[in-house]
Symmetry: none
Amino acid sequence: MQIKKDEVKNAIIKSGEKEFLEKGYEKASIRKIVKQAGTTIGNFYNYFNNKEALFEVLVKDEYDKFIYFIHNHDKIERPDYLWQISNPSKWRVVLSELLSKVVPNFGIGLIILLDCSEGTKFANCKNELVNLIKNHFIEHIEKYNKEYNSIEIGDIISEQLIDGIIKILRNNNNPDLKHKLITEYILFYMIGTMGLIGNFNF
Amino acid sequence: MQIKKDEVKNAIIKSGEKEFLEKGYEKASIRKIVKQAGTTIGNFYNYFNNKEALFEVLVKDEYDKFIYFIHNHDKIERPDYLWQISNPSKWRVVLSELLSKVVPNFGIGLIILLDCSEGTKFANCKNELVNLIKNHFIEHIEKYNKEYNSIEIGDIISEQLIDGIIKILRNNNNPDLKHKLITEYILFYMIGTMGLIGNFNF
Amino acid sequence: MQIKKDEVKNAIIKSGEKEFLEKGYEKASIRKIVKQAGTTIGNFYNYFNNKEALFEVLVKDEYDKFIYFIHNHDKIERPDYLWQISNPSKWRVVLSELLSKVVPNFGIGLIILLDCSEGTKFANCKNELVNLIKNHFIEHIEKYNKEYNSIEIGDIISEQLIDGIIKILRNNNNPDLKHKLITEYILFYMIGTMGLIGNFNF
Amino acid sequence: MQIKKDEVKNAIIKSGEKEFLEKGYEKASIRKIVKQAGTTIGNFYNYFNNKEALFEVLVKDEYDKFIYFIHNHDKIERPDYLWQISNPSKWRVVLSELLSKVVPNFGIGLIILLDCSEGTKFANCKNELVNLIKNHFIEHIEKYNKEYNSIEIGDIISEQLIDGIIKILRNNNNPDLKHKLITEYILFYMIGTMGLIGNFNF
DNA sequence: AATGAATGAGGGTTCATTCAT
DNA sequence: AATGAATGAACCCTCATTCAT
């Protein structure tokens, strides 16, 4: 029955993943999750202490990695040299290489953690990430163009960078396509940022 | 009584606007709307047939304009010449001028229509808009770089363009700041797009 | 419908009174309360915010008096002279007279407050009252017999004094009987206390 | 296995004892009992048919003694001579001597039987005991003061006598203290009773 | 116009018990 | 002997909506 048990538990997890992904934590319904998983409400609570416990299972691994990243991102090798490449047309290949190591780790758990966690204790993860990006953005602006006077755009750009990546992950299962699109998307942001602060001689 | 009636109706509308904006259609609670409006649940149904009817009022004008725009956008004067300006550093001023006529019309109703309508019959508006943008994006790509091979990025970029504008509208009440940020944001997208398809001689 | 409304509300209150009195707060079932009141669960929440709100209505008046009593009991005329009456056989009439002013105020609300409130914010009321009695008991012992060496009995006697009065109130609706029994019961406690500490020349 | 079995069974019994004692039969949770006992819900039902069966084990011995006592109490040597001791100040020592034989037998099982059995078939035990006491009380009254006209107080006094002893047992683990307090408490009741019916020449 | 009473479905959760392994 | 999966009823509570007054 060990097998049987795991079957049901996995069915609940799978079903919960789908439900949380589609509706977010708060709108997700345990009754619907268990029905889709082919079991009963009472049985759900044999596997999980409560709604949030199921959510946590879906998100735990990604959350641990996330926390590690938040705490150590300044020690991690930074791709600052990217910006110093004289010809931005060469960014793509370098960026693609860089991302090839990390994008395969971006799974459904990460999407749920960042985009479906309102109402849980994980709700703030996306904000932390956005703030990280924003700080880099501001640093970057100050380095390349002290006179740029619409610095508030950093709030939007940072959040949109994250949201865009989430959307790509949501809508593309093919790993290669996923990788290609994220590369293009970040490239788009780099070019946009450089252009915005007047760093190109068009 | 007519006066009183409008007062109540407007109070409900104002309160509903706030609730829908904050929580979205589905999570919004009529009980909370009427409490905040200083009236009662029963009275709500004297003014509106149901939850969606209130939503519709909040969104009607913007929706009509939206439909008109969707149906006539190909007849509307297009800012294509923008792209033909040789020096992108001059885009900002032209774009700003262009937007100064339209941004003041972007109000709360538009945000609600595009970003808070899940669960209503308006849920698809944002998608239609996104598709419009996407089609322009694709046209543009085909015009300037037939070989660009990550055309799928158009889905993301188009949706992100809309979402970013919505975020700016949500978070900035000051009209000038709003206008400036949207200008910068669209500029950012234009530059990013051009860069992505290799249209700059960096 | 004002009348109708009060009917239902009163029916719920009456039914809740019965349920709380019989089962205590935690075991009481809203479903049973509303069924007994002839209405539905949903409707219950039109009259009361939640289970505890109904409880509070049942208990509010008594609680206010209770708080007033706790804060002011030391200013209230104390029946200490009772103890100084040389012949305890005369206590009964004095005590009865004293109680005749207060016992009529002891209603069902008081029983619920003191004896059915576990699980609510009122749960500690009985304890406060018991402690008051206990302190008086200890004062009394120290005044009349410093050598009495089973002072711990005060815990039990104090709580039992309160519990006994609650039981009398629970089981007797007739005001005169109620008054007579409480008189006898307190008399019993006074005699017991005096006897215990050896204050009688039997 | 027999050894292991008893270990588990005893762990459940110990854990159940604690849970029933603290919460009473109805509020007690089998889930919490087995968790505290370090076993599982399924295994519980290998040892006990159901919740009440565990309760019965905890209470069985005391219940048998109780039934024996109820059926034979009139044949048991009665401490009536106590009352005939001319000087009540001498009661304490005689009573203490009497109780020293019986109080050590008052264990947790008795508390549970009398005070935690609502919802079980044992629920009426306390009442039977109370009625016994009450009958003695009435006999006593009729013997010493035929004119006493608040005979209904016997209901309360009898129940309170039992409840007080239960409280002492609940709150005191030290055998000597337990014995002393019960002695004082019953003395208190004897004095109170005698005083109430005017049998003292104060 | 205004009130809020009434309904029934659904929300998350706990429970004692049964049963297959 | 031991596990815990499975069930179904019950717990308190919120919801949008209807309706009588």
